[in-house]
């Protein structure tokens, strides 16, 4: 793996004839310097991770056990309430409704993304080079456009009066779509957000799966063909085993990314109409920063993390185990 060797050469000194000959015992102090060097070098990153990520994580747990509204925030008073925030949130029917909505939204978006991306990857594999490049350029443009820019474009496309979608539908004979508002109900708003998210998420997954498919030797398909397999059977016998680990990885990443979306949901209708498109991250924001219940919001964040851990635990376990083996 790594090519590290035990070179205990003092910095700046004239090198001995062979680097592998250990320097004489006399330079103990230099060897001490050599021993502390790695710690000094990782220090900035370590401090940053501990202070900017580790400490807030501990704080999050602390705050979730406190009553921290505007009054306590201003006075600086510490009011410990144990698990009161948890019982308040868990008994809030709105929280459960939003959790279920977020889970359903995440699941639909992830499944749709994976299906479309898989189709795109297989399609790219079978296209002739010219068309393939056209498809790839289109995918990269969709992928690379910043989220908030695409959110504004989608609002323009879905605009009630002048949006190109309603104009197109009217032209195709669906007259009822003239002046149709896509953001009047929660499900409709979430559908538009879902299309936006899927459209932007497919390229990464498609490219990743395509890279996986390219790794399969052509001979394996030929062999499957000789054995009389049709295209469908060849896919299951040859392509599927090759891309399954990659599929697991992108599923995991997609769940992680789609579950915590905020910008798109907020920028489109601030979780409206009437809170009907609110997801967990928006709930956390509304409770904590708009409603000044920081303790409750921290609890919501912690519960959100817990749901994510439950959803991805198996994969993280696998990932850490393989990386651990790699690192040794």
């Amino acid at each position: 793996m790594t090519t590290t060797k035990d070179v205990t050469m003092p910095a700046g000194a004239t090198p001995p004839a062979s680097p592998r000959i250990k320097p004489p015992k006399s330079n103990r102090r230099l060897r001490l310097g050599e021993r502390t060097a790695p710690y000094l070098l990782i220090l900035p990153a370590l401090v940053a991770i501990l202070v900017l990520l580790g400490w807030p994580t501990l704080q999050l747990i602390g705050i979730s056990l406190r009553k921290l509204d505007l009054r306590e925030l201003v006075s600086g008073e510490m009011v410990w309430v144990g698990f009161e925030n948890f019982s308040e949130i868990l008994s809030d029917s709105e929280f459960w409704e939003i959790t279920v909505r977020t889970l359903v939204f995440t699941a639909s978006v992830v499944i749709l993304t994976l299906l479309l991306a898989l189709l795109m990857a297989v399609l790219m594999r079978h296209l002739n080079p010219v068309v393939r490049v056209i498809v790839q350029v289109a995918l990269i443009l969709a992928w690379a456009t910043p989220v908030v820019a695409t959110t504004t474009v989608f609002q323009w496309i879905f605009d009630q009066q002048y949006g190109i979608l309603n104009k197109t539908l009217a032209k195709l004979g669906f007259e009822s779509f003239i002046g149709h508002s896509w953001f009047s109900t929660g499900p409709s708003t979430l559908t538009v957000i879902g299309i936006l998210v899927v459209w932007q998420a497919v390229p990464f997954v498609a490219f990743t799966l395509y890279a996986g498919l390219l790794g399969v030797p052509k001979e394996q398909y030929e062999a499957a063909g000789i054995d009389g397999a049709n295209a469908w059977q060849a896919f299951w016998a040859v392509s599927w085993p090759a891309i399954r680990p990659i599929l697991t990885m992108v599923t995991f990443l997609s769940v992680l990314w789609d579950f915590k979306l905020f910008a798109q949901v907020w920028a489109i209708r601030q979780g409206g109409p009437d809170g009907a498109s609110t997801t967990l991250p928006v709930y956390m924001y509304l409770k904590g920063l708009a409603g000044n219940h920081f303790g409750l919001a921290a609890t919501a964040a912690l519960l959100m993390m817990l749901v994510l851990i439950l959803l991805t635990a198996r994969y993280v376990q696998l990932l850490v185990r393989t990386k651990e083996a790699d690192l040794s």
Binding site: P19, V135, L141, A142, A149, L289, L319
Partner: protein, 276 residues
């Protein structure tokens, strides 16, 4: 498996249709930004712009505060990228080149930090910045983006340094370079593509970030571009051409940087898949 002519034509057509569907929103953003207000708000069916005007860009650029928001975005993004690149290189070198106690522990910490949902830390981060008096100050966002991009940067650069044979450094040391000199003269130039890839990824993360910028920067003058763009309705009312022009200006840096590295990004991420 040979394909017949009809199959190939069918596949080609399907490919083009799919490409058009994917490119459409980006295309629509660009073309709408080039239309006059009259063309934008017309009931006519106008998929292809018949004339081109740059008025929308002028109007977006001259909106009050636009240059401030652009500068804010650039400062926090570039600052964060630079910080995490420096800390990342410093950490990646010993992780890859030296053996020391705690090395594996630190790598696992980086891996877990990279997977953790950063958004969950909004409340404690907000309180931390409030106590430090950094709300509405650009350094608060810079620090947050630094923290958000650092684990990924460390992990990527660790991989890149691992990919450069240590023998090259050893050879330079035999020729009289110090350890640091050998790194600077031999490994660092070879690391350049890795540094570019990593910093572009950090750039896009920070350039896109919305939630923390939205919460921390309540002061109008301290907003970043994505936050300003999301609240366009107050700034532009229904001037969709102007909004699209502003979106184009905001999107172009990310598009350019992205296209430079997208190929590498995919191969790196695939390499991270769990086998079996």
């Amino acid at each position: 498996m040979r394909k017949s002519l009809t199959q190939r034509i069918g596949l080609g057509t399907l490919g083009v249709v799919v490409a058009l569907l994917f490119v459409f929103p980006t295309y629509w953003m660009f073309t709408s930004s080039l239309k006059t207000p009259g063309q934008v708000l017309s009931p006519d069916y106008d998929l292809v712009p018949l004339s081109v005007t740059f008025d929308n860009f002028v109007s977006a650029l001259t909106k009050p505060g636009f240059t401030t928001y652009l500068a804010n975005s650039l400062i926090v993004t570039l600052g964060a990228v630079l910080c995490s690149l420096v800390a990342g290189v410093l950490a990646a070198v010993p992780l890859s080149r030296m053996r020391f106690r705690g090395r594996k522990g630190f790598l696992l910490l980086v891996l877990v930090a990279q997977l953790a949902p950063f958004e969950a830390l909004l409340i404690p981060m907000y309180l931390l910045m409030r106590d430090a008096g950094l709300l509405n100050q650009l350094p608060s966002l810079l620090l947050v983006y630094f923290a958000a991009t650092l684990p990924f940067t460390c992990w990527m650069l660790y991989g890149f340094v691992n990919g450069i044979p240590y023998d090259l450094e050893e050879a330079a040391m035999i020729d009289g370079c110090s350890r640091a000199g050998a790194f600077r003269r031999v490994t660092l130039p070879l690391l350049a593509p890795g540094l570019v890839t990593t910093s572009v990824f950090s750039f896009i993360t920070a350039w896109n970030e919305f939630l923390f910028a939205f919460v921390f920067m309540r002061d109008q003058n301290k907003q970043t571009l994505p936050v300003w763009l999301s609240s366009f309705r107050t700034a532009f009312s229904v001037d969709w051409g102007g909004i699209m022009a502003a979106s184009v200006i905001y999107a172009v840096p990310a598009l350019v940087f992205f296209i430079i590295v997208q190929r590498k990004l995919v191969s790196n991420l695939t390499a991270g898949a769990v086998k079996g």
